[in-house]
């Protein structure tokens, strides 16, 4: 039996080392999707916490498997050729189930709380389609994402509903994305900001996030939407200082001057037209 108990010790120690080491490494390693927005950092915090909880449990199960599978090769003692015939043990079973239940419940509670606190959105907005004022610290800046096969275009209702094919956002300004589609289901994924929202026709999918780092990022479609789904991406989405944003939006307004009179009034959803079955 001595070999057996030493084996147990070895495995347990190995597990402790692995669990602690792994968790420490996680705590210092970069956790996607990064810190480019409040939403992104809350998501990476969630991912980190889940990983911190999951890793020790995961390695514990692995250690147990390793132990049970291998130890009898380490210490084959004649009286345990087949061990005692155990057919179950209520106490062990209860402990196991209760433990897993507790872990799971705590995860669910945490997730719910995080959801309630961050209010990351992804919901059908209820407010009217009235044009909001330019965004301020108090009021979020509304940006509409219009998905169509196969390009994202963006409207800035606070600036006369000007429409662009490139996404530029002011830093440290709460952005309220209103995602909708003109045809099939798309999904707007701004990875760095931790924003992902399905674009569904005649549906207004709202996500709020505050970019905290200027830079150039990639936005892409993450729901299969047809032939060019794989190319429905843009590496030139930018988060810039508010002054740069102002100059940029003015440029866009001058560029869009010829088309403005044709654009429909800003609305949270657009009836896909022409006719449903094509002309």
């Amino acid at each position: 039996m001595r070999n057996r108990s030493t084996a147990i010790r070895i495995v347990v120690i190995a597990w402790i080392v692995a669990a602690v080491g792994g968790d420490v490494a996680l705590a210092f390693g970069p956790i996607p999707p990064g810190q480019a927005s409040d939403l992104a950092s809350s998501e990476s915090l969630t991912i980190l916490l889940l990983a911190e909880i999951a890793w020790p449990v995961f390695s514990a199960v692995l250690a147990a498997l390793f132990f049970t599978i291998v130890v009898n090769r380490l210490a084959p003692s004649s009286e345990e050729v087949s061990g005692a015939a155990l057919r179950g043990n209520t106490r062990v079973q209860t402990i196991w189930i209760v433990t897993t239940l507790v872990v799971v419940l705590s995860l669910a509670v945490y997730g719910t709380v995080a959801l309630a606190v961050d209010q990351p959105g992804d919901g059908i907005s209820t407010d009217s389609a009235a044009l909001p004022m330019p965004g301020s610290a108090s009021q979020p800046l509304e940006v509409q994402v219009i998905a169509q096969q196969w390009w994202f275009t963006y409207r800035y209702p606070s600036y006369g509903g000007v429409e662009t094919a490139q996404l530029v956002l002011p830093v440290n300004q709460k952005i309220e994305f209103h995602v909708t589609s003109l045809d099939v289901i798309h999904s707007f994924w701004f990875y760095a900001l931790g924003v992902k929202a399905d674009a569904v026709p005649l549906n207004d999918n709202v996500v709020t996030a505050t970019p905290t780092q200027t830079g150039t990022y990639r936005v892409q479609c993450s729901e299969l939407c047809g032939l060019w789904h794989g190319n429905m991406s843009d590496d030139t989405a930018r988060v810039v200082s508010s002054s740069d944003f102002t100059t940029w939006i003015q440029q866009q307004q001058t560029l869009d001057a010829p088309i403005m009179k044709y654009l429909p009034p800003y609305s949270h959803t657009y009836e896909p037209s022409p006719t449903v079955y094509g002309s």
């Binding site: 390009w151 003109l182 060019w228 190319n231 022409p274 094509g278």
Partner: protein
């Protein structure tokens, strides 16, 4: 015996590769690619190359891309274009198709061309009434988008509208998809099925370099 197993494995692998090759050949019908006709002129040190395409309501019996979809609308002669890197492309499109109208009116704006302008039958324009559009020539990754005015319904037969525009392609070689943004695939949901999602009709690739 061991070695014979390896023969078996090799046989399976070879068979798989062969089947695969056949399938990819079937699945991957590359429409013919046409290269731009080079000219002697240069603008700002960039070589100017010419393209001239035609958009027709029915491709006709010729068929292109996958299969013989004779009743589909498409760009002729093909949608696989090749231009030298860093060139200035002078595109001429004979637009013979009717007016369908844009779904996203914003794309009625001419973008990414020289001076953000196009020439329609000799008239310089920087935007088109979205309801008059028949097709667009759009390369999203280059930010190039040009709406093509459609022939009026009451126009005489074989009437056509000639649209010309110039745009500069990057100096770095690459493959860029281009497509039409007018829901012009009649008879399909949202007018975006069939030719809009089949290479060689309303979707194509621009190879730079």
């Amino acid at each position: 015996m061991r070695s014979r197993i390896w023969y078996l494995v090799a046989g399976v692998v070879v068979a798989g590769v062969a089947v695969g090759f056949f399938v990819t050949q079937y699945l991957n019908p590359v429409p013919p690619q046409i290269a731009a006709t080079t000219t002697s002129t240069t603008v700002q040190g960039r070589p100017v190359v010419d393209f001239s395409l035609t958009t027709v309501a029915a491709v006709g019996t010729a068929g292109q891309g996958n299969g013989q979809h004779t009743n589909w609308v498409g760009y002729l002669p093909t949608t696989y274009l090749k231009v030298p890197a860093g060139a200035m492309v002078h595109m001429t499109i004979d637009q013979q198709d009717g007016q369908t109208g844009l779904r996203n009116e914003y794309l009625g704006l001419v973008r990414g061309t020289v001076n953000n302008q196009m020439t329609v039958d000799g008239k310089v324009m920087s935007a088109l009434d979205p309801s008059l559009a028949a097709h667009t020539f759009t390369i999203p990754d280059l930010g190039v988008s040009v709406p093509l005015e459609g022939v009026a319904d009451n126009a005489p037969a074989n009437a056509q509208i000639v649209v010309e525009f110039n745009f500069v392609v990057p100096d770095k070689p690459g493959l860029y998809r281009w497509q039409c943004f007018v829901p012009c695939a009649a008879g399909t949901l949202y007018g975006n099925g069939g030719p809009m999602q089949s290479l060689g009709y309303m979707a194509g690739e621009l190879q730079v370099g």
